[in-house]
Symmetry: C2
Amino acid sequence: MPTIKDVARIANCSISTVSYALNNDRRIPEKTANRIKKIADDLGYLPSAAARNLKKQNTNTVLVAISDFGGPVYHELLDGIHHKLGKNKYTMIVSTGFSTENLLKEKTVDGAIISDINITNKTLKQVSKTFRPIIILDRSLDDENIFDMTIDNHNAMYRLTNDVLSKGYRKIAFVHGVKKTFDNESRFAGFNHALNEHGLSVYQEFVGNFTKPSGQKIAQEILNQNEQPDMIVCANDEMALGIMETLQINGKNIPGDYGVSGFDDIELSRYFKPSLTSVRINRFSWGERIADTLIHLMKSESTSAQKAHGELIIRESY
Amino acid sequence: MPTIKDVARIANCSISTVSYALNNDRRIPEKTANRIKKIADDLGYLPSAAARNLKKQNTNTVLVAISDFGGPVYHELLDGIHHKLGKNKYTMIVSTGFSTENLLKEKTVDGAIISDINITNKTLKQVSKTFRPIIILDRSLDDENIFDMTIDNHNAMYRLTNDVLSKGYRKIAFVHGVKKTFDNESRFAGFNHALNEHGLSVYQEFVGNFTKPSGQKIAQEILNQNEQPDMIVCANDEMALGIMETLQINGKNIPGDYGVSGFDDIELSRYFKPSLTSVRINRFSWGERIADTLIHLMKSESTSAQKAHGELIIRESY
DNA sequence: ATCATAGATTGAAACGTTTCAATAACATAC
DNA sequence: GTATGTTATTGAAACGTTTCAATCTATGAT
C-alpha cells in the first residue's frame, strides 16, 4: 500500500505539498497539483482514513442505528437520510445491537441517528456524555445532549379525530398499539384531545400490538360484545387492516356498520377495499430533515426542534 | 475528551503501562491493572479508534454492502453474519450506494461482504486490487482476489425437479425470474439437468421478475393459451404465490389442475392454501458460515469454497 | 554482600495524515 | 541593485495509540 510519502518521493516534493495538492488547496498552482494527482493515481494511492481521522479528529461518517434489519425499517427514511448526507459529503453506516454500541463508544462516527428501541434511555444518556451529537427518533427524552425528532402524532390524530367527529360518529372506540410507546401514547392523546373538546370521551378501548393479527383478534372481541361502537380509530394501519378484514369476513359493511381509520398510510391501505383513511408521513423528506438537523448539530450550529407533520389521507373507510 | 495520557498522569505511571493494563497484557500485575482500569473508568476514558486503527493497521470492522434497505434484504442472513462476527469481536456495519464505495476505498473496514447488485463486476475487480478480502454473494466471478459464496441453486432445483418427475408430471413449465441473474440461471440449469436425464425438455417458459404481480400476470397468460402444462416450476416463491392466487381465483384447483412449486421458502408459503413446496435455505447459519469464511480470509488463512445447501420442503402444492 | 533472574515499568519510535509557521524562490517596483 | 511583496515549497509538530527493547526493582540463591 503506497502512502503519501511514496507519492512525495516520486513527485520529488515534500509531503505537505502532496497533501495540499490532493486536497485542492489553492496555494498549490494547478499545474503542479495535476502532476501530483496524476502520480498519486498511477500509484494507486488512497489516503488512510485512520490517519486522517486521527489528525482531523473527525470521520465524516454518520451512524444510523436501527432495531432490526427485518423489523419495520422504514427504508424510505433511510434513503432520505442517505441522500441528504451524500449531498454533504458524509458517509452513512447502519448498525444494530452490539455493533452500535461499539461504534458509539469509540467515536468512529461524527454523529448518530438512533432508531433502535432496544437501546434504553439509560444507556443512551450514558453514551451521550462522551458522544455527541445524537438524534433520537420516535422517542422523547429530556437530556440536553440528545436531540429528539418525533412525528407529530398528537396533532395528526387530533385532526383525524375531528374529521371523524364532523362525519357524525359518536361511539368511537380506540385500538391501542403497544402501550407506553411514544407512538401509541401520543396518538391516543391527540385522539382524546379532540374528543374532549366535544365533551366526549372514548367509547371503548382495545389493546393490540401494532400487527395485523392483533387487529384480527380485536375484531373478534368487538363482534362478541354487546355494545357496538360505530367507529374504530386505530393506532396504526396494520391493525386497522386486520380489523376490517375480519369484520368483512363476518359480513359487516365498512363503512356502514363501522367506520375504521388507521395511521401511517402503508402501501396496502391504498389498495384495500374499502381504501383506508390514514395519516401519511413523507418519510423520505423526513429523513432528509433529520440528516439536515444532524449536520447542523455536527457543525455545532444551533437548530430548532422539529416534528414531522402528518398529512391526512381521507379515503373510503368511514 | 480524556486520552491515555491523562490516565497515565493520574495513575502516576507511563503511557505504556496504561496501554498494557487496559489491554489485559499479563506483564502488568492484576492489582495495578485494576487500579488503572478504575481510574480510566472514572475519567470516562475511551480509547480513540482512529489512533488504534492507525497503529494497528486494522479496524476490527466488517462491511456488509446491500442493494437497498427496502429490497429483499434477507435479514436472517444479516443476523447470522452479525452473530458470528460478534463472537469474534468484530463490529458489523451495513451500507449502500456511494457510502459503500467510500468505505471500501478508504480501508475503513478489514473485510467486506457484498450483496449489492448495483455494484458492477468491473468496479468490484477494480476495488479488489487495493482492498481485500472481499466476499461476493449470489454472483460468481473469476477473480482471485474475490471470494464468491453462492447458494447451490443448481443442485437444489435438480432435486426438486426430480421429485416433481417422480410424481408423474411431464408437461412441466418453467417460470423465470429476472434473466441473466445468477439465481435464475442456475435454478433453470438445475431444472433442465433433471429433465434432460429423463429425456425430457421444458414444456413452456415464462419470464417474470421475481415478484408476485409478475406471477399473477403469467398466470393469466397460462390461462389464456391453448396448450396447458400440468406443472409449473417457479424460480422463486413470490411468483409461485402470485400464480396460485390468480389460478384459484379463476376456479382452478392446485394441485389437480396444476401443480406448482417455488424456491426460497418465504414465510407466507407455509400458510398459503395449499401450502407451497419449496426449497429452504437456512439463511442464519448461511450467514454464519459466510462470516466465518471472511474471518478466515482476514487472518489470511486459507479456506475452501462453499455453497449453501438447500433443503427440500415438500408440502401440498403438487 | 553479590549475583542472577524474573517481574514490573518505561522511553521512544512508529503508524499516515494535516496544517502551522517558516523559508525559499521569484517577480515587481523603485 | 536593493527593498518589497507575492507565490511556492517545506520542515516539523501534532493527533492517540501500540509495542519493541531497554531499564529498573525486587526476589531469592549463593
